[in-house]
Chain length 322, copies 2
């Protein structure tokens, strides 16, 4: 493949973001800061055979999904997505058509948020690796840190938990199941909660973390960073009835450590809970109160309260790719 | 390897850049724009077996060099380096110690410019892939584009050409040679011309491109972007005497398309040439006038004038990794 003609093919003919001064076409991209806003940036890498397989996803999904993982990081900071950069390692057995489909998946997802592709690198190698770096703007001092949980906060989560892992399970087992297409779509084309988080930008304090490695892992990150404990009621968890049909063991595998739901886990002052509900309504997002934050400076932890009232300590057993 | 303890080991205990609000440790990094400055960002990916081999470089050099490639992009935009982000794919046969050496090489190079490591991703895979994204600040509207060359401009290049490719040649052929260590060091630990480019920030117009794929390629990029022609005098090229001992054919292979010298190729108005020389003096950088820019709107090209006066068209035959 000719690198130059490929770059030409992905270069945008116009910029969507007015803050973009120079996109693809020089040694680097140039952006103009937006007055009163901080800049947010994050990076995610996916490797064929580890994070995706062509047996469970087509190239379009791969592109759509990796940008989704990055968008989810931006949502978890409460910011407005602006640009993305793509570095890709291309193995010889990948065709130009497949590659274009990867970019098409990213492009379609990016367009939903008026994001511009501003650069990257294309090199050859033995396995497909895609690294996407994203950039966004957040009103000054309104970044949503994991360390912002306080005693007495309501804990909430968006959407449903376990959908993506259950969708992957259906794909891998090639099983027939009720609403199979819905769960598979949730796995292949995740839709991060960007609009919901944007709608909450006026809130002075909000703790957010995105569910990318499983809620067990993310809840522990919040507990550690905020030096508090999270008490989660399993019976309040938003879990689809199709998943509830399975044994508690199977359910928990998907729900607690399945990962990649790309929902938001957050905590908010009790008096601001109505604002979270209003933002959810306005952006057509399901949001569920699943617990409360407890003081625990010396022993931050996550406790899961079972339906029978028993408490168990939830370890950071989330899905760790490495 | 435990991902969490590894991340802990590379997390900085303090920030060097006052504009950095949040580095490693949340869903994304947060930076505060600097008044009157634009932000620059670029990304480079290197793959084991394609861009480096452990037979010609140790892990420390690999880290030092990939950050160097990125710094060179920032230099070519005329900006002040600020932060970097590292996404790495780690194969099973790499030890934690080797990995730490890669980060150590990046860290030592970054420290020279007070850069902060602000995030990234670590995943497993079958071959080592490192993607570094860098960020810097440039005074508003002072980015150094390839499209900024004008008729009558002096063309200049920093340092010496061909050193890195000749160093690699010595390594691969395991040859004894005069000043062998110098050339090998130029290959393994390139030092991009950041300070020189910073020193020129007061110049209103300056065209810069960094020599990463070979000057033949970069000169053509300037010609195309600026719609002009570059006439380069081969006899004026800064080439070390050790390289001049070889046949013209060998020389040209290293000098024109060897790539990865990470020097700067630029053009500047004739009346500003003294300022370029002054910046070179002040930053202890060699700079050489190697030609002149000619009007050529309808047929942008690069002409190489031989010692005997003959002109030949220099094609974009630079070293293309893909």
């Amino acid at each position: 493949m000719d690198e130059f003609s490929f770059i030409d093919s992905i270069t945008q003919k116009y910029y969507r973001q007015s803050s973009l001064i120079k996109g693809i076409g020089d040694d680097a991209a140039v952006v103009r800061p937006v007055n009163g806003f901080d800049m947010i940036t994050a990076s995610d890498t996916m490797v064929e055979g580890i994070h995706f397989r062509l047996t469970t996803m087509n190239p379009y999904h791969i592109g759509y999904r990796i940008l989704g993982a990055n968008l989810s990081d931006l949502a978890a900071m409460g910011c407005d997505p602006a640009y993305y950069m793509v570095s890709i390692v291309i193995p010889k057995n990948w065709s130009q058509k497949q590659l274009e489909e990867v970019y098409s998946g990213m492009h379609d997802h990016a367009r939903q948020y008026q994001m511009d592709l501003i650069g990257g690198d294309t090199v050859s190698g033995n396995e497909l690796v895609i690294t996407v770096t994203v950039y966004g703007y957040v009103p000054k001092n309104r970044s949503r840190y994991r360390s912002y949980a306080y005693e007495g906060d309501y804990i909430f989560v968006t959407g449903h938990l376990g959908d993506s892992a259950y969708g992957l399970h259906l794909l891998l087992e090639q099983k027939k199941a009720e609403n199979r297409d819905y769960f598979i779509r949730r796995h292949q084309m995740p839709n991060p909660r960007v609009h919901f988080a944007q709608e909450l930008q006026s809130l002075k304090r909000l703790c957010l973390n995105d569910v990318s490695d499983g809620i067990a892992s993310e809840a522990n990150e919040i507990a550690q960073a905020s030096r508090i404990s999270l008490e989660l009621n399993y019976s309040a968890f938003p879990i689809r009835p199709e998943i509830k049909q399975y044994s508690l063991e199977d359910q928990k595998k998907w729900v607690l450590s399945g990962g990649e739901d790309f929902e938001l886990l957050g905590t908010v002052a009790k008096e601001d809970w109505v604002k979270v509900q209003a933002a959810a309504d306005k952006t057509n997002t399901k949001v569920t109160n699943i617990g409360v934050v407890k003081e625990s400076r010396n022993n931050p932890q996550v406790l899961l309260i079972q339906s029978n009232g028993q408490k168990e300590k939830l370890k950071r057993s989330g899905y760790v790719h490495l």
